[in-house]
């Protein structure tokens, strides 16, 4: 079945205006891609590769200098686009930011989750229902009445995700949402993101520089210097570790290990991202090598 693209970008270009001392910085340079509805895509790139700029374009915080951007089939770069169209597009695309503190507006968890729905003008009873459901879904029901200040980073991010769920968005962009969290909090947020995608069919775009997180996606877009460097499934993207290293990026540790094994003459696959699978593959390869001798 042909799925409709929820996001379609054609030749997007964006530069940050320079000030008196510096020249304008080109952050995005002729970027084109499509994101299918219901997919799980990771956008990888080191700092300054343009990945966060891209996120800001997708949720209409910044506007592209040139190129076309279609959200849910609506062209937001058309000359006749109105403020209402942009607001309508924002309703479908949610964003979870990097700093958990700087996106929580209210001093009570459930009131923060309700904030987005309140902005949409949804009737009170309906908001109540959605907020309870959303908190349930991210496992934060028992913190509904507490203050976000007392939550851990991972919990705060889950509150932010609940806010997105409550607004019933079609697509969620995680803009390095795990960068400031400890390993446990990161696991929490990743699990919630996976759940959103697998169970609710919400399109997830995960912007990250953690290879292990990117490996969980269906598709990876690698950004480098404002351009798309690679685009494909994790096995495709990580099949050439040298290219990734050249772009200043890493590959998952499992891939790196397998790649080094292969260079050392062992016959191993590269596309295994789970430690256990990787260990099994190495054991197999070593057994084969022994038997070969």
């Amino acid at each position: 079945m042909q799925k409709t693209p929820i996001i379609k970008a054609e030749h997007l270009t964006f530069s940050y205006p320079g000030d008196a001392e510096s020249k304008p910085v080109r952050a995005l340079d002729d970027v084109s891609f499509e994101i299918e509805e219901g997919s799980f895509t990771a956008i990888l790139g080191h700092n300054g590769s343009g990945k966060s700029t891209l996120a800001k374009l997708l949720c209409m915080v910044n506007y592209p200098d040139s190129g076309e951007l279609l959200l849910c089939g609506k062209d937001l770069t058309a000359p006749d686009v109105t403020e209402e169209d942009i607001l309508a597009a924002r309703r479908d695309i949610g964003m979870v930011f990097q700093n958990p503190d700087n996106q929580i507006v209210a001093s009570i968890v459930e009131e923060d989750v309700a904030f987005g729905c309140e902005n949409l003008g949804i009737p009170s009873a309906e908001i109540r229902k959605r907020v309870d459901q959303a908190l349930e879904e991210v496992g934060m029901t028992k913190y509904a009445r507490s203050s976000p200040h007392n939550l851990s980073g991972g919990q705060k991010q889950r509150v932010a995700i609940a806010g997105v769920i409550a607004m019933k968005r079609k697509c969620v962009i995680f803009d390095e949402s795990t960068a400031m969290l400890d390993p446990l909090g990161r696991q929490d947020v990743m699990n919630t993101a996976m759940k959103l995608n697998r169970e609710d069919g919400i399109t997830v775009i995960l912007i990250t520089h953690y290879m292990s997180e990117a490996a969980m996606a269906d598709r990876i877009i690698v950004m480098n210097q404002g351009k798309i460097l690679r685009d494909g499934t994790p096995s495709e993207v990580f099949s050439d570790p040298e290219a990734m290293w050249d772009a200043g990026l890493d590959v998952p540790q499992t891939t790196e290990l397998l790649y080094k094994m292969r260079k050392a003459g062992y016959d191993v696959r590269l596309d295994l991202f789970d430690e256990n699978d990787c260990a099994a593959e190495i054991a197999r390869a070593m057994k084969r090598a022994r038997e070969g001798k």
Binding site: L87, Q103, V105, A106, S107, E118, N119, S124, S146
Partner: protein, 275 residues
């Protein structure tokens, strides 16, 4: 890392006071403040103090915590007390040491003034800050002031600003602590030297704090935009305020208290306050 500043912070609870309509609580605290200023005599103040204790008991908050919250105001309290004791003249001279003359009236006046300040804090903190979530409070204020929107007063905008300010107070306190520790680790000294030197030592704290606050503001604005915030127009609320008979009963009680204070002033004018 939790901040130990309790003043102006909501304490979770489910008491009668907690459950009152925030709009009514704002009105009640104003009424109560007016009542405090009406009180003139010792008897009236005794009555008020009693009512304050009852009020605290009703909220289920610990009086020790409320007292702790007053610590920042200790200086003002001591200053006014000293001022009253030494400058007030009256009929009953207690101590006379050269130019210093202390009168009984001065001491009573000082005690009553202290009581007045303490009661004012109790009234506002018990009715408002301790028992009402900041959001409910601003919500109540927004609705109370809603008629002013017709005069183009940006009521919603003000209440939004207040909500955000309240939300970020603990965050910024934590941040201040972190910056102070970071500067201390580099050898900064905040506790010695004269006043000017100490004030200067604060600059390396304030500058990073301000920069980070502006950065936070910028990020928060983006996050709010992404969550479809477009101002007060067309917004609904999850928790709609409804006044119940309880609210009106509470208003009645406070009005009766006010009347009692006026009567106490009139019929038991024991050592009247002169300020």
């Amino acid at each position: 890392m939790k901040s130990d500043i309790t003043f102006g912070q909501y304490v979770e609870g489910n008491s009668l006071i907690h459950r009152l309509d925030p709009r009514m609580k704002i009105v009640l605290s104003i009424l109560y403040i007016v009542t405090i200023f009406l009180a003139k005599s010792v008897t009236a103040f005794a009555l008020l103090t009693l009512s304050a204790f009852l009020l605290i008991a009703l909220t289920g908050l610990s009086p020790a915590m409320i007292l702790r919250g007053m610590r920042p105001l200790l200086f003002i309290i001591v200053f006014t007390a000293v001022f009253n004791i030494f400058w007030m003249t009256g009929d009953t001279l207690l101590i006379s040491l050269g130019p210093i003359k202390i009168y009984l009236e001065g001491i009573i006046n000082a005690v009553l003034i202290i009581l007045r300040i303490v009661l004012l804090i109790v009234a506002t903190s018990v009715f408002l800050t301790y028992t009402t979530t900041p959001l409910a409070l601003t919500d109540g204020l927004e609705q109370l002031l809603a008629p002013l929107k017709k005069l183009h007063v940006p009521v919603h905008e003000f209440s939004m600003m207040m909500t955000i300010a309240l939300r970020f107070i603990p965050t910024l306190i934590d941040e201040t602590q972190k910056i102070m520790n970071a500067q201390k680790a580099r050898g900064a000294d905040f506790s010695t030297g004269n006043l000017l030197q100490r004030a200067k030592a604060l600059i390396p704290i304030l500058i990073p704090l301000f920069i980070s606050a502006f950065r936070r503001a910028d990020e928060l604005a983006t996050a709010m935009e992404c969550r479809c915030y477009t101002g007060g127009e067309g917004r609904t609320r999850m928790n709609v305020l409804r006044s119940t008979p309880k609210d009106w009963a509470a208003a009645f009680v406070v009005l009766v208290l006010g009347a009692a204070i006026v009567l106490a002033n009139l019929y038991f004018p024991l050592y009247g306050l002169t300020l």
